[in-house]
């Protein structure tokens, strides 16, 4: 059982968000959802707003919202540099819901150019937060 563990570090600018030995780590990158087990090939990927799942042995899976940043996978160590990382109990669900509605409204108004990109990002962010906060 202990053979399939690898080191995971999630670092945000304000703190070391998570550090420990895990069996599996799931997160969302710009190319899609990925799950990482031990002995993954070396990979650097850019994160997209989404829910990350941390699976530790003999423990319930932990969820967290990772908003942006990137992930670096080396042989036996995974480092996530997250610009924004939040545990479910730190998320203000009401605010996220409001942000979601605001973003949707802006998208319906057919925003263009950078505004469109910004609204899409805001929508993704708020959905990631809401998803992470769900039990």
């Amino acid at each position: 059982m202990a053979d399939n563990l690898f080191k995971l570090k999630i670092i945000s600018p304000e703190r070391t968000f998570y550090e420990g030995e895990v069996t599996m780590f799931e997160c969302r990158t710009t190319e899609g959802e990925i799950g990482i087990l031990k002995n993954h090939i070396p990979l650097t990927a850019v994160l997209a707003p989404g829910v990350a799942r941390i699976m530790e042995p003999d423990k319930e899976n932990a969820k967290a919202a990772l908003i942006s940043g990137f992930i670096e996978i080396l042989q036996d160590e995974v480092t996530v540099l997250a610009e924004i990382a939040e545990w479910p109990d730190e998320i203000d669900v009401k605010r996220a819901e409001e942000a979601k509605i605001r973003a949707q409204r802006r998208l319906q108004e057919k925003a263009t150019g950078t505004n469109l990109a910004r609204a899409t990002l805001a929508l993704q962010r708020s959905i990631a937060r809401i998803e992470a906060a769900k039990k």
Partner: protein
Amino acid sequence: MASMRDIKRRKVSIQSTQQITKAMKLVSTVKLQRAKQRAERSQTYFLSMYQTVVNILKRSGYMEHPYMKPNVSGKKAVIVITSNRGLAGGYNSNIVKLITQQEWKKEEVIIYAIGKKGRDALRRKGYEVIADESEMINEPLYSDAMELSDRLLQDFSDGKIGEIYLAYTHFRNTVSHIPTMLKLLPVDMEEAAEKSEIDSEVEDKTLMNYEPEEVEALNMIIPKYVTSIIYGALVEAVASENGARMQAMDSATSNAEEMIGSLELQYNRARQGHITQELTEIIGGAEALSN
């Protein structure tokens, strides 16, 4: 010799100044502790960020990328991080000096000011200050740094500015703070390669994959890199500011102590002189009467 009353008044005034400097020293000591912890906590992030970016750059070689080469515009943008309040010794003037000493023409430089002291000093010297984010320094947030770097990168890709520099005070330890000028963009390939040679030899052997492609990944990572450097500089600058203020107030307090001591001596001398004079007058008067 000054009169006793004058000396006393002076002494009282210095004593109350000393009380203020002492209180300021205590306050900045506490603030320094907090800022220091904060700087240390965020350090791991920047080190890994720097490492990753350098590794990517090294592996991808000298590629053609808009962030890697100077822009057509000859303007230099300088982010200047100083404090909003004075009484911090040479903290602010050192940063200003750092900029004026560069061999740059004033017309070429655009200042993005963070901190009122630096903003005012540079404006007086005739530099063009186009942004003022002085509120940021009170409580540096990562989102502030993000906004600023977005704006800078936008100006950079619009061709308004050709190079981006960052002037801040590096916090080495509690007593040593070094004014530093950093070049943010275009990324200096040679410098990066030089620095990375020492510490990344081991990682060289692993073949890294990128998702998305390297160039695209770089597009997304460089803004994060710039943001993280700006944030790191902000956090360090706050620590340096409080360190500098603590030192300045410490020496002010001990100077006041010295002055009070010498005034005390003067006062006692004046008092003694006064008594001696009175005695001679009485004796002189008595002698004049008895004759």
